[in-house]
Amino acid sequence: MSAPHSDNLPDRILKMHEQAVREMVEPRDGISPTPVTFLLLCFFFTAWGGYYIADNPGAWSGMEYNEKPSAAPAGPAVAVDPMLMGKEIFGACTQCHQADGKGVAATYPPLVASEYVTGDERRLTAILLNGINGPFLVNGATYSSEMPKWRDYFEDDELAAVMTYIRNSWGNQAPPVSKDTVAKVRAELAGQPNPWTAGSLAEFSAVAAAKAKGETK
């Protein structure tokens, strides 16, 4: 349909397009004045925006994730309950030693009532740091699996916490392990990255025992 230039089109055509013809005029703009209260509101929001940015700038730094960084470092570091932290980390151990610490017969040794767990803390630390390859004897039964080394995956306080946790769960009772102990053993084993065997571990603990005796003398 071409654009008509005449004002005398038959009414029939207009009738066909009743929808378009029956309309109101095209919208126009009114020029009512802007309410003063609204302008005041605009000033309020603008002022609030400025205040909020000034109050929460996060130091304008790409490395600052806290909107009020000055508040963050204040106050002493919160002490963490090693039993809670240990329980969380123990999740890494449950695949073999199971959530109840009973292990799997002939494969993964139990942690419950095990002399390795509740006994010498330095030996336990050494096992966690370096891992151990079976077979070896726990509570009269032989276990033949291999335990990985954890020295690269956990910090001293984390290893201390998980040891404290297993030494005081499921009926085990033994003194907590401190993070200094882990640090000392880690330093001693710095040049010795291989996993223990039943033999080498016994040797380590004998030497350690002798050293400990020497120290007490």
Binding site: A20, D29, F38, Y52, I53, E67
Partner: protein, 496 residues
Amino acid sequence: MTHVPEGPAESRLEQISRIVIDDSSRVPVLLWFTSSVIWLLFGSLAAMISSLKLHHPDFLGGIEWLTFGRIRPVHLDIVFFGWSCMAAIGTLLWLQARLCHVRLPWPVLLSGLAMVWNIGVVVGSVAVLAGHGSSIEYLEFPAYCAPFFAIPALGVLAANVKMYLTKRSEHTYVSQWYLLAATVWLPILYVTAMFCTYFGLVQGVSQAITNWWFGHNALGLWVTPIAVATAYYLIPKVTGRPVHSYHLSLLGFWTLAIFYNWAGTHHLTGGPLPAWTITVGVVGSMMMFIPVITVAINHHMTMRGVFSMLKTSPTLRFTVFGSFLYTVASFQGSLEALRSHQEITHFTQYTIGHAHLGLYGFFSMIMFGAMYYIFPRVTNNEWSSARLIKVHFWGSALGILSYGVGLCWAGWWQGTMMNNPSIPFLQIVEYIKPYLILRSISGAGMTIAHLAFALSVWRILSRHHFVMSGPTLFTTQRPPWREFVNEQNQREEIAQ
């Protein structure tokens, strides 16, 4: 016979040029609109499946393609790309042509682009259902879908600019600013977001920022301006009154353009973003109060004294409902951005309630209003039944209100409980379960409304050569459809 009050008289030439313009946009507008209505039905289906799964997790649980992690993104992408974008483009083509007083350019090209867009939605949806979707919200469609949307978006931009450059109207009406800006913003947003997130231009945290810059702006700088433009056109058009204040329109447009772009990062509050990006996002969101209030004042004051027309005009009732929810959902959204508010509502049903109040209660309702206005004009036909329109309105309105209020209420308490470590998580799940069922019921109401709407659309299209007399208002009585068609067939036989 017309129920609308008489406005100032127009010259016959103006009326005739309007007929010519509406005729020129018929095929492209109908293609974009009809596609969007079909996608609305698919979107509703995906929505119902997702919603039922939330309280009956075993529902269709054995079908890999319909697992929640696939059907929910498909719902989102279909209602966004399929329904919202296609409805928005149809409206903007028709509206811009009218406001510029020019015929729609390149009707064949624009129709072809609608089909390209449809192919994109089909390919993307199937890919997501088959498990090839990404986890980037609003951009779940795989990268190879991007050209199907980017090219039509550029085509629509070109048509829009051409219309504006050749316009025969002297004055640029407020709706035209919004329409032009939205078509400029969409390709920028989409192409930038696709390049940045899919082709490794930015990674890690920056990728998340880009994602929400797009996700939030796709709503605020693309569908929102089009719905606001439509309301700015339809409310004065149907009531025959001038828009309240030009100065407010101007202030509202430019504040939207300035502030909205910053707001996206509020979606990542509490995430590992540099704190200043979130601070700026919060301020951008709060400053949105200004444009929203301007629109609220303008629309309310234009309607003042003629609110009784809501009883008769379907277009006006849908549009004013949508415009009202624009105010409500935007106020809610601005406050929601605050850190103190997010501590409670982030990661709860509250966000979902808000999103639907915005995209459905505001945007979709205005699009429904626009379609009730535009379909009769491009088909030269009238809506077949006022009752179907009533079913549509009440199903949609009550559905979205109970949906929004229910989920926001549930989400608020869900968040409060989640912040209290002594409440077990399962107890919270039990608490929100009745509200999830309410969500499905509300969704069913909206789905019924969409079926009624689709039926209306099918009828107005299938008999488009037959002109009924008079507009279909809520008070209009039409003969039952079957009788009406029979009568029409008889008339045709006699005529032959």
